[in-house]
Symmetry: C2
DNA sequence: GTCTATAATCAGATAGAC
DNA sequence: GTCTATCTGATTATAGAC
């Protein structure tokens, strides 16, 4: 929450919000600048190009999501079972997206559209996060509560795609973010559980 | 397979392939034209604008996917249980995406980036398909094999997001498209099943 | 650190020959 | 039905005043 209200931070916040909502090509510098209370050319005093700005939003989004989920999971104590840890991670991820972190939502939205070179760098930063999910899944398979019939990589890809999607279709109404998060965890974890009907 | 090799069809095929791979903004008319063996301005003899071309690709993608899944499910006969029908639909959807239909993959990739007005029209065309999934889910809940604790809309959204994602991360190798499809069905359907461990 | 020009670029679209 | 040449508009980026 160390939110210095300087120009640079305002630009990043605005860029995250616009990227989340409009996608990469749809996010015009003029609109980002407007959200930061300035005009487009002023951005260049803080960032050398649109690409640099976008990349910083991506890195920040990964960092925030990563930190949020890890702190929720690690806060449970060392004795917690893999399945409970996995559930906590799923709920934390959905909750974080839906309660409005623009940075992590922007990552989910535009990652596939990033230019080749940037995507490689962002992917590298993302890999520690990816490994974290993989470890949770593998740990559940190792202790016998997660199905070994399912491929850990496939489970991780499907899981993340499913969770990331919710920021694009969720609208407040019948169900709260917390309820969506619980349904996601139920749908995935009973499916991933080793004991089958 | 009525594949008339006329210019119009070649342009549509090329557009679907490029849109699938590069996204909406990344799909340049020059590249689409190149894939159709012509130069960019020639496209305008067949389509009044890029938007019209893109919209036609979207409509065709929805139609193809729709027809493919429905024919596989309806081919099972009227006595088939809702859960088995749902499994068939899931497998058919993943299989269709991964065995390379550019049109349906293009829909999954660029739908969120479409301009507002076009997205409304495409969504309207998509709704019959959406309803088809919803009916399958609701039928399984009604006969007691699908969990009533889960919201049918949430299940549908998560399910489609999960399935659609695979065309962006799947690479031939360890697992075949058919195996990915089976894993998706297992993960989702055991999670959706009413009887819980 | 932000502004008012303005340049440079690029992609969609048009005109008209063949 | 496709081409070459060109136009238009939008958007990123720069120059230089304040």
């Amino acid at each position: 929450m160390a939110h210095a209200d300087n120009g640079r931070t305002r630009i990043l916040d605005s860029a995250a919000a616009v990227l989340r909502q409009k996608g990469l090509a749809g996010a015009k510098l003029s609109e980002i600048a407007k959200g930061a209370g300035m005009l487009a050319p002023s951005i260049y005093h803080h960032f050398p190009s649109k690409d640099h700005l976008v990349e910083e939003v991506m890195m920040e989004g990964i960092y925030r999501n990563n930190r949020h989920i890890m702190s929720r999971v690690e806060g449970m104590g060392p004795g917690t079972s893999p399945m409970v840890r996995l559930r906590t991670a799923i709920v934390a991820h959905v909750d974080f997206l839906l309660t409005g972190d623009d940075y992590s939502s922007a990552v989910a939205r535009i990652f596939d559209d990033l230019p080749e070179e940037m995507r490689k760098r962002v992917l590298a930063a993302y890999s520690s996060f990816d490994n974290y999910w993989r470890d949770l899944i593998v740990a559940a398979q190792a202790d016998g509560t997660g199905s070994k019939a399912l491929d850990a990589t496939v489970v991780r890809k499907f899981l993340i795609a499913m969770l990331d999607s919710c920021s694009s279709w969720y609208r407040p109404g019948k169900l709260s973010p917390a309820q969506i998060a619980e349904q996601a965890a139920d749908l995935l974890l009973f499916g991933f559980a080793a004991e089958r009907p």
